[in-house]
């Protein structure tokens, strides 16, 4: 019996009135885990019951502990009729199963009902006693940590990054079972919630098992998704990156350094020149090859089967039969072989991470993506009968235990796509894919599966297979005896785990850290796509492309000029309504055009902003009944290593027409003005290259490379600089019809954010480094009707474009009080719930920053400080004076500015303190101490039950909850502890001290009184607020004070206004953490700003 789960029900508050006669409620609680149920006594006639139950104990095996949620149901006792359910709380006890995470779950949870929403709160305490289980054949994977964060979590160090793990489980969707016709919506929703909770538990356990087999101890970048396939079922799938993590407090043990890295280097020769590859070119862009395979057998990927570059990723143990043989075989065999063997899993050298320890990422090739259109077939699931007879009503059907070929189909689909991605990466001379993600879009029976990532060459050192001990030894032997790179001083505090690796990089590669990743990994003579190569503007040794698209975050060490900005490409394509195969075929046919157009838009918009690289690129193609929508978001930046982008030139087709030409030139002027304006806005002032370095322009780089074919080996001589491209206007837009004209117009309609705002969809905004701690995470959802009688692609495009722009505008307006601030991790999700309806959901976080004050290195070092430091070094060396024309415009790279900052360092510190205390002091003048007192008082009051004014609360669970959170530095005496939420992996100005476990929640809300609840907006507004509240409550109960890497993965909204009904499903996830403000770490806690009168403080017993 490997585990004992203990649950105590303490109290409830603010329960709804269930008995109209007495205006009270006779509440009791059912606690259910697995098949065991306990009940509390009925607490009669109270809306604030105090059950104070005994400890309910469940003795269960750990497999069950991982799969099952704890289910708490609050009911109203009724003597004469059936008891009415008030609501439920599902508690995922997974965080209690790791040794380092939470030890107890205790706190107030909102009682949730799928029809009525939150109805009061319940105080629960949950504990788990785990017994050690040494069974090798166990099915559980307790102890494997899961992180949604797509970087190495802040208080850990990656010892080994093992690689890709994936799993999926499939089941019938309870909503589509026959029984759903006779049961209530509530029962149906609850069945669904419970099933998904079970499925995620199981999925997580299985992934955990894979990780253990790979000898890892954690999954980072864990992304779990649901595919609601309607009648064909429910798919829960997850991907992640298996790692061996080490808690950072141990680092000192590794510091004694020895040397000799040479041995490892020999063992894994790092190949700068990837093998020649006869890959036919795809679309003429760095956005690499999309293939559209409606029929799965298209063997596009076989060409690139060479596995030489795979060396470091294919395990060298006996199983390493090489992927070539397998790829040659038919897909079926390939997929059959794809068992759970951990080694086989590494067949996909994918990483869901987007940020890496410095030195991990050597080169980036470009974005690789693959899509495939599938038909969801109605399956006759033979297990269906079995399910109904089972006591555990929704037994999971995963493909191991069950022979339905259905899950295998899904697995095969994904395997096929991953294979494609892999081959694309190879074509780019890369052996790995980073920033990898998968998604689906389903409409009726058609499903588009998409996968994308960034082809990259990685430093093999982190990927060593082998035992933990072996790795530790390696690490020790890799410790260099010196830290040579001065510019990384700032980084040492923040990324202690990377000290060795970054200096390692210095040894291993001669190229400076700021540009290495831009250097092309592929052979310039056999480029996979036509691109203009130049010598790196930073080191001048290696070739770089003219633009770089990636799905990852900007590497910490990258040298950036100016600030970044959010760039979106938006596109609609009409499609005929069709059935089944015809529909799928027409979608497949449309996809390449959409991808091409999205890409063109991105390219144009990038150039329009005078930038040359995209990070965090995410292209979403959504399928609807009669149209397809494409939305690509990315963060544009100017990488110092890449050439200056050329402008955009417009060429008309009918040069004779005078007015037309005038119009063209007018447009051209407008475009040029926009580019100039943008350059100013984003502070893009790349250093002008002195003439002698540039040399004479060489006419056609591609021709030249052909000429130089024979001497490519010597091409890295500095004398042969080819910088011609920087001077060249590369881009010509031809306006040959009205469509093209529209396109140009739409280019110019993108309004830059109002002053004081920046936005990006990556974790951090390039070019801003002085964040202040105020953050505001939000979700905005809009559904719009595209009410055109005869919609055309153009009008639809315009509508869609307006919709997105207006949404952004409205966000800027909402958050205007936070200026200056930056919207980070702006994540758009598009859905087409019905004909003509477009739903856009945005989740992002607004972070304030200090415009005038640069942070002192010791005050709050951020990742960016290192970047800035190195940039400054760089520029001070080469371009000492030219940039400082306007030091006040917060030009972060300007040496003059740097001097200014240094001079003002003394005044800067008090300013920082003032900034952090602003939250509490601003209003303090007006409502002095009484607020504080009210807050204290309020704890002693029970609603409506004051008979005497003295406090009855000595035994109150509130006190316990409050004490539990006492350690949480909130700065206030509020009864509800503040929980911050952010889609980022960090909190500005704060240090994450502990990860408490993954939060993965799924909620359904339904209403049959839509109008009464304020229409669709009122309904969804309340629901999203409720979801936030439940996430916060769970985090607080774990003892945490923030959720990082928060993501709303799904928001499915359906309405039927005629029936006054609506339903919504929301799936969110994130990592619960404890953070401590850096200011509190340094100084002793400052006493609360408002003094409390002694007399009243004595009253407060809590």
């Amino acid at each position: 019996m490997p585990g004992k789960l203990k649950v105590k029900i303490v109290a409830g508050r603010h329960l709804p009135v269930m008995d109209r006669a007495s205006d009270l409620t006779d509440a009791f609680v059912e606690v259910k885990f697995g098949n065991t149920t306990f009940k509390t006594d009925v607490y009669p006639k109270s809306l604030n019951p105090q059950w104070n139950s005994e400890w309910f104990k469940f003795e269960v095996d750990d497999e069950e502990l991982q799969d099952e949620p704890l289910q708490i149901t609050v009911l109203d006792h009724d003597t004469y009729s059936a008891n009415d359910a008030i609501g439920k709380v599902y508690i995922d006890i997974d965080p209690l199963l790791y040794s380092e995470a939470a030890t107890v779950i205790s706190g107030w949870f909102p009682i949730y009902d799928t029809i009525h929403g939150i109805r009061g709160e319940i105080n629960v305490v949950v504990k788990v006693d785990l017994f050690n289980d040494l069974n090798r054949f166990r099915q559980s994977s307790c102890g494997v940590k899961f992180f949604c964060t797509t970087s190495i979590p802040k208080c850990y160090r990656a010892v080994v990054i093992h690689g890709f793990v994936e799993e999926l489980v499939v089941n019938e969707d309870p909503e589509y079972q026959w029984i759903d016709r006779i049961r209530t919506p509530r029962a149906s929703n609850e069945a669904r919630q419970r099933l998904i909770s079970l499925m995620s538990g199981e999925l997580q356990r299985k992934i955990g098992l894979k990780v253990l087999e790979m000898r890892g101890n954690a999954v980072v970048g864990y992304l779990q998704c649901f595919d609601l396939e309607g009648e064909s079922g429910l798919v829960v799938r997850a991907i992640g990156t298996a790692c061996t993590l080490d808690k950072l407090s141990n680092t000192s043990a590794f510091l004694p350094a020895c040397n000799s890295p040479s041995k490892e280097m020999k063992e894994i020769p790092f190949n700068e020149d990837p093998n020649p590859n006869t890959y036919s070119s795809g679309p003429s862009t760095p956005l690499k090859n999309q293939t559209y395979s409606f029929s799965p057998s298209k063997s596009y990927s076989r060409q690139s089967s060479s596995s030489d570059t795979d060396l470091s990723l294919t395990p060298k143990t006996g199983m390493g039969s090489g992927s070539a043989g397998k790829e040659g075989g038919p897909f079926k065999t390939l997929l059959r072989q794809q068992t759970q063997s951990a080694l086989e899993q590494r067949e996909f050298p994918f990483f869901t991470l987007t940020t890496f320890p410095p030195g991990f990422l050597l080169h980036v090739g470009g974005v690789v993506s693959a899509r495939s259109v599938k038909l969801l077939d109605r399956i006759h699931n033979p297990a269906f009968v079995g399910i109904m007879g089972n006591t555990r009503s929704y037994k999971l059907l995963d493909w191991n235990s069950f022979n339905s070929d259905e899950p295998e189909t899904r697995d095969a689909w994904w395997a096929e796509i991953r294979q494609e991605i892999k081959s694309h990466a190879k074509a780019l001379g890369c052996h790995a894919v980073v920033g990898y993600s998968e998604s689906t879009s389903i409409c009726e029976e058609v499903c588009i599966l998409s996968a994308s990532g960034t082809a990259a060459v990685l430093n093999p050192r982190f990927l060593q297979d082998g035992t933990m001990e072996g790795c530790l030894e390696q690490r020790l032997s890799w410790q260099p005896g010196f830290f040579s790179i001065g510019s990384e001083k700032g980084e040492v505090d923040f990324f202690p785990q990377s000290q060795d690796s970054s200096s390692l990089l210095g040894i291993e590669e001669a190229s400076p850290p700021g540009c290495g990743f831009c250097h092309i990994p592929y052979d310039e003579l056999n480029m996979p796509f036509p691109a203009h190569l130049t010598y790196c503007y930073n080191c001048r040794k290696q070739k770089v492309p003219d633009v770089l698209f990636t799905t990852i975050d900007l590497p910490v060490e990258a040298i950036v000029v100016g600030k970044g900005c959010l760039i979106q490409a938006r596109l609609c394509r009409l499609k005929k309504k069709a059935q089944a195969e015809a529909n799928a075929t027409s979608i497949s046919n449309l996809l390449p055009f959409m991808e091409y157009e999205v890409h063109t838009q991105l390219m144009n918009k990038l150039k329009l902003r005078g930038m040359n690289a995209l990070f965090g690129l995410r292209i979403q193609i959504t399928v609807g009944e009669n149209m397809l929508m494409g939305l690509a978001s990315a963060t544009g930046v100017y990488l110092a290593a890449l050439p200056t982008p050329g402008g955009i030139q417009i060429a008309g087709k009918t040069p004779n027409d005078g007015t037309y030409e005038q119009h063209i030139s007018h447009m051209q002027k407008k475009i040029n003005d926009t580019i100039a304006k943008n350059k100013e806005l984003y502070e893009i002032n790349p250093p002008e290259l002195p003439e002698e370095i540039i040399g004479s322009p060489i006419p056609e780089p591609r021709q030249r490379s052909r000429l130089l074919r024979s001497q490519s080996e010597s091409s890295d001589e500095v004398t042969e600089l080819d910088l011609s491209h920087g001077k060249k206007d590369a881009f010509v837009l031809e306006i040959d019809d009205t469509d093209a004209m529209e396109d140009v117009h739409s280019l110019l309609t993108d309004v830059p954010p109002p002053s004081g705002f920046y936005s990006c969809n990556t974790e951090i905004m390039p070019g801003i480094n002085n964040w202040t701690p105020e953050i505001q995470m939000f979700t905005a959802v809009r559904v719009s009707r595209l009410s055109n009688i005869n919609p055309t692609n153009q009008t639809l495009n315009k509508n869609f474009n307006d919709l997105c722009e207006n949404l952004l505008k409205s966000l800027y307006f909402k958050l205007r009080s936070m200026v200056p601030c930056c919207l980070c991790h702006v994540n758009f999700t598009v859905a087409l719930p019905e004909d003509e309806l477009v739903q856009i959901a945005v989740t992002a976080v607004a972070i304030t920053y200090d415009k005038n004050q640069a942070l002192q290195a010791n005050k709050a070092p951020t990742e960016k400080s290192q970047q800035r430091a190195s940039t400054d070094n760089e520029e001070q060396l080469q371009f000492p004076l030219e940039l400082s024309s306007d030091p006040l415009s917060s030009q972060p790279f300007s040496p003059a500015k740097e001097a200014l900052e240094g001079a003002s360092s003394h005044t800067g510190i008090p300013a920082a303190q003032r900034a952090t205390s602003v939250d509490y002091s601003s209003f303090a003048d007006r409502c002095n101490s009484w607020i504080e007192l009210i807050k204290l008082k309020a704890q002693t009051i029970r609603r409506g039950s004051i008979k005497t004014t003295t406090s009855l609360e000595k035994a109150s669970p509130l006190a316990e909850g409050y004490l539990r959170h006492r350690s949480v530095p909130s700065g206030t005496n509020s009864t509800v502890s503040v929980v911050k939420m952010t889609p980022l992996s960090f909190l500005p100005g704060a240090k994450i001290t502990k990860y408490l476990g993954i939060i993965n929640m799924f909620f359904i809300r339904e209403t049959t009184s839509l109008r009464e609840e304020g229409g669709v907006s009122g309904f969804l507004h309340a629901f999203i607020a409720e979801v936030f509240a439940m996430v916060r409550a769970h985090v607080a109960a774990l003892g945490g004070n923030a959720v990082v890497s928060y993501i709303m993965k799904q928001c499915v909204f359906m309405e039927n206004p005629n029936k006054n009904q609506a339903q919504c499903l929301i799936n969110v996830s994130g990592d619960a953490v404890i953070f401590v403000r850096e200011s509190e770490l340094e100084a002793l806690p400052v006493p609360a700003p408002t003094a409390q009168p002694a007399g009243s403080a004595g009253d407060v017993t809590t």
Binding site: Q776, F778, S784, F923, I934, T949, T972, S1017
Partner: protein
């Protein structure tokens, strides 16, 4: 292209003070948008009307959801649905319970009943306060009154705890609520157990005071008095007459002590019924004031009438019917005569000081403490009410 659904939800609930004010004033979304437009927000932020509409709707939805919680402010602090910083919560409550003085003056002394609520249309027209706002404020008064009417213990603290109101606002509330129902007159003394509670809800208590005692405040004679005047009077009465004013420790929630205080006030009648005492009192006051007061002759002529009025007001306080006339009596019998004789406020102050102090030297007068306690409140009331 129209937006059917448009929501914005922040982890920290955004509260726009301007929109909150518009919502509290009872404006519809369209009106609020129009007003915001006039406020020039468009020019400042460079945004569009559509954005403003969407923003306003969002805020209105939030406020509607919050309203349920604002009805019981302590719940606002405990609830988990909206994460609102404490200072913002305080702002929400304070603004929600803030009221228009003009409206409060209208409601003083009226029953907080359905009938009164129906008359709010007229009140709204008279005061210029929007009808929706009137209803909300009326409901606030009623809610506060209902919540505290059954409670024992110091009124001020009860109000404070139940509604988390700042002192000034709470004081005003008390004045209104107390003007409503005579039945609670005696309990009122119990509420005042603590003369100056830590979060003195004095304003609030004053309102409750009036609601309870149903002082006549609506007569034409009293029209010149503002809400603030009544609130101040109620406060000084509470401050001086409650049992806590004498012995805070001996606070007796059942109100025995104040009852005896009211009974004892009858003893003061001796000052006017006993001819000797009255004469001696007059001569003491007159000799003290001779030459110091401009209306000496009028004082000498009217002393007996004034004294009788001042003492009798107190004697009548034990009877509910007479209490109604408290303010009317003071105005009719003290303020109006003085005004017609052109007393200056300074004269009145000087007179009241000496009038209160003189009995100390009266042989055979044994109720000195009682007298001064009684007169302290009466003097304060008169001085406050003595204006045009």
């Amino acid at each position: 292209m129209s937006s059917d659904l448009d929501v914005f939800v922040g982890n920290t609930t955004l509260i726009d003070e301007e929109v909150y004010r518009l919502w509290l004033d009872g404006h519809s979304v369209a009106e609020a948008v129009a007003r915001r437009l006039r406020g020039g927000v468009l020019e400042r932020e460079g945004t569009s009307v559509a954005v403003l509409q969407s923003d306003t709707r969002d805020h209105y939805r939030t406020f509607q959801m919050l309203e349920r919680l604002l009805h019981a402010p302590p719940r606002l602090l405990q609830q988990l649905l909206f994460q609102i910083p404490p200072e913002r919560q305080a702002l929400l409550v304070q603004r929600y319970y803030a009221f228009d003085e003009a409206l409060a003056r209208e409601l003083l002394g009226k029953k907080l009943s359905k009938g009164t609520k129906k008359e709010l249309d007229e009140v709204s027209a008279r005061t210029g306060v929007g009808i929706r706002s009137c209803r909300r404020q009326f409901d606030n008064f009623k809610r506060v009154f209902k919540a505290v009417e059954e409670l024992r213990g110091p009124l001020a603290e009860n109000i404070q705890q139940l509604f988390l109101l700042p002192p000034a606002l709470a004081r005003d509330y008390a004045a209104i609520v107390f003007s409503g129902i005579w039945g609670l007159w005696e309990r009122f003394w119990g509420f005042l157990g603590c003369p100056d509670p830590p979060f003195s809800s004095r304003d609030y208590a004053a309102i409750v005071f009036f609601a309870n005692s149903r002082f006549e405040t609506g007569k034409r004679r009293l029209q010149f008095l503002s809400f603030g005047d009544f609130a101040a009077c109620a406060q000084s009465m509470m401050a001086h007459w409650s049992q806590g004013a004498l012995a805070p420790e001996a606070a007796d929630p059942d109100g025995d002590l104040p009852k005896s205080f009211l009974q004892d006030l009858k003893e003061l009648k001796v000052l006017v019924s006993d001819k000797d005492l009255l004469d001696q009192h007059k001569s003491l006051v007159c000799s003290a004031l001779r030459g110091k007061i401009s209306v000496y002759n009028e004082l000498e002529a009217n002393f007996k009438a004034l004294s009788r009025a001042l003492v009798n007001v107190g004697g009548k306080l034990t009877h509910a019917r007479d209490v109604r006339d408290f303010f009317v009596d003071l105005v009719e019998k003290v303020i109006e005569p003085c005004r017609s004789d052109k007393w200056s406020p300074g004269d009145l102050r000087l007179f009241l000081t000496h009038y209160t102090a003189a009995p100390r030297n009266l042989p055979g007068f044994r109720h000195q403490a009682l007298w001064e306690r009684y007169m302290a409140a009466i003097s304060a009331c008169l001085l406050r009410m003595y204006h045009d």
